[in-house]
Amino acid sequence: MARLDYYFRETATGLRRNPVVAFAAVITAFIALFLFGLALLITREFNLVIEAWTGNVQVAVYLDDPAKPDTVAHIQDTLSGLAAVDGVEYWDKTKTCSQFETLFANQPTFTENVDCESVIPTSLRVKLSDPALYDQVTAALACQPNDQNQIVCAAAGVKNVADYRQVLNRLNAITSVLKIVLGALAVVMLVFAIVLVANTLRMGMFARRREIGVMRLVGATNWRIRVPFLIEGLVEALLGAGLAVLALFLVKVWGIDSLRGDIAFVPLVKNSDLLAIIPWILIAATFVAIVAGTAGMRRFLDV
């Protein structure tokens, strides 16, 4: 117990010694981790949107309402037999509606006012082995584009075909660009955070160089000397992480939640999404602390 007591006392002195620099490190860590979290959150939002709009399926074959079981089986067989098709899944009313409810769980006005069972058609969701072979699907179902930009089909029981390839591609492209931009920004900020935390540790060690000298002289191990500084860096990074989570939560409450109702057709990130990214923010904070710790004191403490 004497040991733990020692480490915490040393860390507390370290943080008190230069509050301004420690504050700067915490704020940089906060901004970096906030951007990092924001990138994760935006990625999740886009995944939700993609899921909602396309079900991650490249082609949807909507069926006449109501669909007869043997017709469904027949079309399913036809599609499965195509070389271009990787998988076909039948979405009946129950499945389609339950997905609808999940996606828009946070927008009750929308779900309550729509009678899903009567409005939503059943469909076959098709995954293509190669998007370029899409024509095979339309050919098999004898589909033609009509003048309303829909692809209607002559095959029995089929209403129309929705080609999601382009939407999917575009959404994916936007998501990856956003991911890259935000990711790069987060990385740059994380580097800043590392440099600043390392710098506070260095200044701390410089202020205590006499003490460190004595410690080495009387045979304190390197870890004995380092650990208080490592904890100090960790505390700074984790304080930054705490602020970042708080800020993300505020963004969610004030920014995102106020959009609900206005744009009911877009599913929005939920609290559970926010909770899911917290571990990643904490991992990033720990990473910042460890790198800053090792970089900050390498030169200072060689025996």
């Binding site: 040991r3 006499r210 080495r216 009387v218 045979g219 191990t221 004995r224």
Partner: protein, 225 residues
Amino acid sequence: MISLQHVSKTYKNGVTALEDVDVEVEKGEFVFIVGQSGSGKSTMIRLLIKEEETTKGDIYVGGKNLAKMSSWDVPKLRRNVGTVFQDYKLLTDKTVFENVAFALEVIGKPRHVIDQRVPEILDYVGLGDKLQNYPDELSGGEQQRVSIARACVNRPLVLLADEPTGNLDPNTSVDIMRLLDKVNRIGTTVVMATHDQAIVDAMRKRVVELDKGHVIRDQSRGVYS
């Protein structure tokens, strides 16, 4: 206890501080290392606690070859070798008690050991009534006593002293020498680098004289020159 075998030390800037030095120190001995400034005395002390590495030759302390010692084991070495310097190296924001306690605290000794040993050793060096004073409330001699207490509190096998009387007047120096002699009499091997002629002459201990990095004299019960 200490053995230097053909030890040479050349610093990175090309200065040769020691050249082919052979010295053996037995357990419980008291040895003066004398010589002018720049003769290599301090380098020898620094080599003995592995603050510097030898360029050539081997050093054994307590049977361990320092050249083969990993950096992990250096703290262990330093726990067995107390060090005292001309500038005391006390921490000014800590009391006398805390300064000595610090040496035990940072090597992980439990509280009850600290509370027992620190007053004991401070009493031993004659500062039993100054536990709560700060270093700048003490005279130079008293400060050096604190640093000796700190070096001895963990009961080291060897005490290294680099010009311990360098900042002190002759009378105070004599007091410090009495204390080091006392430490030596309880079995601690003492190696002291100095250029204080009066002290060396008065003590009549073994003298190793260095000149430009060479041992030019090794005499038991010697005088300064």
